[in-house]
């Protein structure tokens, strides 16, 4: 606070001085001193009114500005570590490649970045580019400055875009509150701020809780209390949404297992690794696109989905034909054998891709968040909820209405009878296992967006997947859906007050007690199929 005041005072004192200094002189002073000195120079650069100042500040904000050791020239350095090129920041002159350690970067930290943004905000409040105008209004809200009241009011009057005008009105109100305006103007400003999201209300108004003016203090306290009420209400909706999105992750991870374990009765401990293979498929697809067709990068997930399904499905068929087929009816041996497969797959991936995390990018259309009432909804989560429900209902329809689904159910319900009717049970077994594996691959594509893509990816999901399938009732897809969503939502309502660690323990205890009482899960299979 003291610092802000100090810079403010300096800024007030400086115009006379600043006019004496040209942009060239100021830029040359950037490397000197500490971050506070640099913030002061930034304010002076902004005050020059020089048209090149904005580009200088932008480069500084990006951390691209460096000082050439030989002659102290300030340059913009871009390019990779081994191939850096410099351009003069003021003249734009191309200075060619830079040798290693011949330049010193001009350091920027968070505090300085804030100062640069505010300084740039003042310059770009009326910029032709709407994105810059919005950024300027947001910067003004973050650091309310009584000096800017009039500039913001003028910008508001000239603004055509409604959403930007709204941001400017908010920033204007915050600036009015920071100024020594009349009580009435301030009360109006409090009302304007009160319309904003609850978190913004609190961040902006908390500082004025203890103002001397009783009317204003009361209005501030009321507005904050109102925001807190809104937030508490929306908090429940937010927990529900978090629960649904966690539930759909669980559903995705478990749904393949619901087929291999639920329908076929194979305890497949390599399920998690099949998910991991799906994630690596996404990585390979993205790598290929990056080098060969970068313009289609936005489609990378759409391309990865069928590829992951086919590739991981094929791996599944190979596991079934090679190992599991010989072990039907011997669950303990199946368990050990598939565990061995999981270790082999993990180490194979580690050898092929290395033990470190791989970066899987998020296409632009899937990143970011939007505000719904008082809650923030992020696009990757929305995409995963939609994707997992699509996979679920797609699978449900395939099981019920396709010829293969019919054969699959026939074989699992009564193998000898199905064989007598001319169904090649071995082929159906292999394809069923392949289907379960393929869906695990699909889960991998989705999980690559929110989790580590590393050889250990699968281990984090295997236990949860089994929990969901057993809790929902083995062999029942609807049970899997209900269990995944139920566990997800329960987890997210427990987490705020019990903490993540205790929440997880409570859920486990609950499931253990539940299975004691109802060993066949939420929706047990009935009739002859259950005797299997």
């Amino acid at each position: 606070m003291l610092l802000r005041l100090l810079t403010l005072c300096l800024a007030l004192m400086l115009p006379s001085l600043a006019h004496a200094q040209t942009l060239e002189e100021l830029v040359a002073r950037l490397p000197d001193g500490n971050f506070n000195d640099r913030a002061e120079v930034v304010n002076q650069i902004a005050a020059t009114g020089d048209p090149r100042a904005l580009a200088v500040l932008e480069a500084l904000l990006e951390g691209d500005l460096e000082e050439r050791n030989a002659d102290g020239r300030i340059v913009i350095v871009t390019g990779s570590r081994s191939n850096q090129v410099a351009t003069d920041v003021l003249t734009g002159e191309d200075l060619g490649a830079v040798a290693r350690r011949s330049t010193t970067s001009i350091r920027v930290n968070n505090g300085l970045r804030r100062s640069i943004r505010s300084a740039m905000g003042v310059m770009t409040l009326r910029d032709p580019d709407p994105a810059r105008r919005l950024a300027a209004a947001e910067a003004a809200l973050r650091a309310p400055d009584a000096e800017q009241v009039e500039a913001l009011a003028a910008a508001m009057a000239a603004e055509q875009v409604a959403s930007i005008r709204q941001a400017q009105a908010l920033a204007h109100a915050a600036a009015v509150l920071a100024s020594d305006a009349e009580t009435e103007a301030k009360l109006a400003a409090v009302a304007v701020v009160g319309e904003a999201p609850a978190l913004v209300v609190q961040a902006t108004l908390n500082a004025y809780r203890n103002v001397e003016d009783p009317a204003l203090a009361e209005a501030v306290a009321d507005t904050i209390a109102d925001a807190e009420r809104r937030q508490a209400m929306w908090g429940q909706a937010q927990n529900l949404w978090f629960g649904l999105s966690l539930g759909s992750v669980l559903l995705l991870a478990a749904i393949g297992l619901a087929i291999t374990f639920g329908v076929m009765g194979v305890i497949n401990l390599a399920h998690g690794e099949l998910v991991m293979l799906g994630a690596y498929t996404t990585y390979v697809v993205q790598q290929w696109l990056r080098t060969n067709a970068p313009e289609y990068f936005g489609w990378s997930l759409a391309i990865a989905v069928p590829l992951a399904f086919l590739f991981v499905g094929a791996v599944g068929v190979a596991i079934e034909r090679g190992i599991v087929r010989h072990l039907y009816g011997r669950p303990l041996e199946t368990l050990l054998a598939t565990w061995g497969v999981s270790l082999i797959l993990q180490q194979a991936v580690r050898t092929a891709f290395g033990p470190t995390n791989r970066e899987v990018g998020t296409p632009d259309w899937m990143s970011g968040a939007f505000q719904l009432g008082e809650m923030t909804v992020t696009w990757p989560r929305v995409a995963i909820v939609i994707f997992s429900l699509t996979v679920f209902f797609g699978l449900l329809l395939a099981m019920r209405y396709s010829a293969f689904g019919l054969q699959m159910r026939a074989v699992t319900q009564n193998r000898p009878m199905a064989a007598n009717l001319g169904i090649r049970t071995g082929r159906v077994d292999a394809l069923t296992f392949g289907l379960g594996a393929g869906i695990a691959g699909l889960a991998g594509v989705a999980l690559s967006q929110i989790d580590n893509v590393s050889p250990n990816l699968g281990q984090g999901y295997i236990i949860d997947s089994f929990l969901v399938v057993v809790f929902g009732g083995v062999g029942n897809l609807w049970g899997t859906l209900a269990a995944a969503m139920g566990l997800g939502i329960a987890n997210k309502f427990l987490e705020p007050w019990a903490g993540a660690v205790l929440g997880k323990i409570l859920i486990l205890i609950f499931i253990i007690l539940f299975i004691q009482k109802r060993p066949r899960g939420l929706f047990p299979q009935r009739g002859r199929a259950a005797e299997g």
Binding site: F35, R107, P355, T378, P380
Partner: protein, 423 residues
């Protein structure tokens, strides 16, 4: 002093007949997980050690003898660490072991090193509260990482602290120290929130939205993260997704380095912080040479270097120096010779081994950049010696460690004047 050490060491060497084995290789054990959950971090350290040993051999070995690396894979399995440590020392007869990452793996090999009287170099930042005669701690103790990090935040006006950690010994001890320290600095207890999550936690929605609320009171807030390895990627992804910028609520991490950032798009994370004793971006000749050698050794320009690698670099050079000074690889002589050894680190200073078996290091605070590197924004004026027993925990405040004769004690109680901890 050094001369005296040298001559006594020479006598010891002559007596044990070590000189007679000239030309026979000296074996060095590498005890890092190459499979299992910790392989992600530890495999790189194995490679770094192999590179250092290769370089040393090109430079003529140690005591005129070549070095031979013995690599084993404890597979992230803690009891296996102890078994393999025993095998390395008894079976392979290694002169020293470089290894371990997690505190639990270190704790599990401690009794072995004590019993068989060998030497372990431990390269990872840890919670402190330990000093063992056979172990040399080249990673940071809390006073070389956590305390300077919150000092930096306090200096920058942060008033509220959210301490987020994974639920195990390192975050719990570190947060206990930090809570006591912050309160001593005048931070109100209601402005400190401590939150633990299970290993590999992947759903951060609730916690990140809690952090958003915590940071939206109009007073500057920051997150101090001791979140471990794998859980970091989903944590940072969620931070980015919910739009928490470092300018509003900075996150300062103690377990996130260049290697961990390799799996994340760092664009939205610019400005979040980490506290280490080394960053790949540090601009010194030693570091540039080290990075070039690393790239040449590993055959890829994309691989990064990180803090534990530097710790091994320092530890290995210290061991070489101490063995040369002692004239033997005999554990007792080398342990005595190691205290006081000083070698250059990669950040332009000279690190030396203290009597408490911890080393002096600079403390650097870096901000994440768009290219996945860190830019140093603050550093301590000089080097800081690792403080094994924290002064901010009541039980350990009176303890000191000094392995030089005549004290030779890892937990000397200055209040009672006895060796043996606080009991």
């Amino acid at each position: 002093m050094k001369k005296l050490l040298l001559s006594t060491a020479f006598c010891a060497a002559a007596a044990t007949g070590a000189l007679a084995q000239e030309g026979e290789p000296i074996r060095v054990g590498i005890l890092h997980s190459l499979s299992g959950t910790m392989a992600i971090s530890e495999t790189t350290l194995r490679d770094a050690m192999l590179m250092l040993i290769e370089q040393q051999n090109e430079a003529g070995g140690v005591l005129g003898r070549p070095l031979e690396a013995v690599v084993v894979d404890p597979a992230s399995d803690w009891p296996r660490f102890a078994e393999l440590a025993r095998e390395l020392i008894e079976g392979d007869g290694v002169a020293a072991v470089f290894g371990c990452w997690t505190s639990v793996s270190r704790k599990s090999v401690l009794p072995v090193f004590e019993e068989l009287n060998s030497i372990l170099f431990y390269p990872v930042q840890y919670e402190g509260q330990e000093s063992q005669r056979n172990v040399f701690y080249t990673g940071a103790a809390p006073n070389q990482q956590a305390i300077p990090a919150v000092d930096y935040l306090l200096e920058n006006g942060v008033e509220r602290f959210y301490l987020a950690g994974t639920d195990y010994v390192y975050p719990r001890t570190t947060n206990q120290i930090l809570e006591a320290y912050l309160q001593a600095q005048g931070v109100a207890p209601e402005d400190i929130i401590v939150n633990y999550t299970p290993f590999g936690h992947s759903d951060w929605q609730t916690i990140v939205s809690e952090i958003r609320e915590f940071g939206s009171t109009g007073r500057p807030a920051a997150v101090v993260s001791t979140i471990n390895g794998d859980a970091n990627v989903p944590f940072y992804n969620e931070l980015a997704a919910q739009g928490i910028s470092a300018e509003d609520i900075p996150v300062i991490a103690f377990s996130v380095g260049e290697e961990e950032l390799a799996g994340i798009d760092t664009g939205p994370l610019v400005g979040h912080l980490a506290a280490w004793n080394y960053f790949m971006s540090v601009d010194t000749d030693e570091n540039a040479d080290f990075i070039d050698a690393w790239h040449a050794y590993i055959g890829s320009e994309d691989r990064v270097t990180n803090d534990p690698m530097e710790a091994h670099y320092i530890g290995f050079n210290m061991w070489v120096e101490a063995v040369e000074a002692a004239g033997t690889t005999d554990a007792d002589a080398v342990i005595d010779a190691l205290v006081g050894v000083a070698v250059p680190n990669l950040t332009g200073g000279i690190s030396s081994m203290g009597a408490n078996h911890h080393i002096t290091k600079p403390v650097l605070i870096g901000e994440i950049q768009e290219d996945g590197q860190f830019e140093v924004v603050w550093e301590t004026a000089g080097l800081v010696l690792g403080d094994e027993w924290s002064d901010f925990v009541a039980d350990s405040a009176p303890l000191i460690s000094d392995w030089r004769a005549p004290l030779s004690c890892g937990n000397f109680n200055t209040e009672t004047g006895t060796c043996g901890g606080s009991e």
